[in-house]
Amino acid sequence: MARNPIRGNVAIAGVGSTTYERDSGRTDLALGLEAAVRAIEDAGIDRQSIDGICGSGRDTFSEGQANYLAVQGALGIDETTWVLNAWLGCAFVYAVEAVASGLADTVLVVQTSMRGVTMSRSAVSDPFRVRAGKQGVQGAQSSGPLSPDPAQRWIHSGEPYAAWMGRYLAEFGATKEVFGRLAINNRSHASRNPAAAMRTPITMEDYLSSRPIWEPMQMLDMDVPVDCGEALIITTAERASDLKRPPVYVNAASLGGTRIGEHYEQGIAWDKLAPWAAMNGLWKRTDLTAGDMDIVFPYDGFTINAIGWIEAAGYCGSGEATDLLSESWDDTEQILRLGGHTLVSTNGGSLSHGRAGGSNYYAEAVRQLRGSEGERQVPGAGAALVGVGSFYHDPAAAILTSQP
């Protein structure tokens, strides 16, 4: 067992979300601030008690995003002792680390996601975004930043995932249906979630006939671009127990680095990708098992990501998701129950709730573990597993629980 100073000491005290819209007409800063204000209200804290902020973005300034400099200024928070910008699953873990280490007692995490000009027709025609792209604002350009060595000519960051999907099909003798089950599961949950961007149920025929984008990847393998913001208040377990909402505890967390580095085609093997590194680290820090989870949130930027995270989490062996998902299929509800129990992406995931870099999984996990979701409530939800991040960078795995 590895050290785990997080366990029993860190909890989530507040959660706030915006609507998920295809064309909000708002800035990511506005969306991030709305989520932040909602989370602060939800936790019932004075905003001046926030002494740490994790903003949205990948560097200190992160122009065009809800970065910590902009968020702290806009919220009028006088002083902080810990700040950072991050994205994908890592943002949550960094904030948890800050509380566990004592660099901050109460951290606000703000994550925003906007329809990008490489993935959304409406974003391409948005005059503000077109102008920002010409001005070189991060996230607004029609192509990514210079790669260290673009002999690797993946044009979009998604293409290596499409190639891995093809490799998965060939190496393990799988068919597209394994990915289709995941897409249908997520849409079935989204159809019951009023907050989801895509709520019309889909069939396997719909999935298999969706438009090819980067073969073998099709439209319904890809998450849905939206404008949205999510925020969490993370604090000590002791302080959370005095606040107005039931605390949700962080049982364990792990990041995950591999020797693949920034060259996506260099992954040594399928089960050496980053989700495995993060999950291997997680299970060394907890007594809980994959089967103990009531809900799992495998990152589904693309369906191939989710298959990787499910396998990495240990619900089945490497390359064995076809059998697992077939055996786990509830044909009446058109959803998955892994091992007959664990539900998958009850909010609809990135594929159908919306593209939020996985920040929405933490929000959904908190709400379900509080038991506050009414008709959508997962009965007796006590533990949730989140696995978020790229095959190559910024992966994180975390277990949240309703009891310390």
């Binding site: 210079l146 690797q152 580095g261």
Partner: protein, 151 residues
């Protein structure tokens, strides 16, 4: 590693959109001369790609740009149906992007394209060999199927 300033300047000019550094310049100079150069560790023989300055196996700095045979197999690929949406509102035509695993070393993969066949004929694992364009404006190699007789 770059001793020929004229060649370096040609690489700077031709690969305008590539972030060229002291660590990768030899590779691009090689492309201009239709040579696929990959760094090889002269201490332990390990091939080091992408072009980083240190051998990850033995931590030697003695990396030498070295020609590879140009033979390998398709490790994975995607057929890009929908390319980058550019401001005029059109898409790039469909094309194959493939990670070619070079025969010199397991896991040594070079990102390129597969030509000389319809995209639907490309399969994971197929043997390929390097092919250089006759057009001087296109310095990037592609890979083509190895003929049935093996040569």
């Amino acid at each position: 590693m770059s001793s020929d300033l004229a060649l370096r300047d040609r690489a700077f000019a031709r690969f305008e959109d590539v972030w060229l550094t002291q660590d990768n310049i030899a590779h691009y100079e090689g492309l201009l001369e239709q040579q696929l150069l990959i760094n090889r560790c002269s201490n332990c023989g390990n091939w080091v790609y992408p072009h980083r300055p240190l051998c990850p196996e033995c931590l030697s700095w003695e990396l030498v740009p070295t020609p590879v045979s140009g033979r390998g197999h398709v490790y994975m690929f995607t057929l890009i149906r929908q390319g980058r949406r550019i401001e005029e509102g059109t898409y790039d035509p469909p094309r194959v992007v493939a990670a070619i695993e070079l025969e010199e070393q397991a896991g040594l993969r070079y990102l390129s394209t597969v030509t000389g066949m319809t995209p639907g004929e490309v399969v994971v694992g197929m043997p390929v060999q390097i092919s250089w364009s006759d057009a001087p404006a296109d310095p990037y190699p592609s890979f083509v199927a190895v003929p049935a007789d093996g040569e």
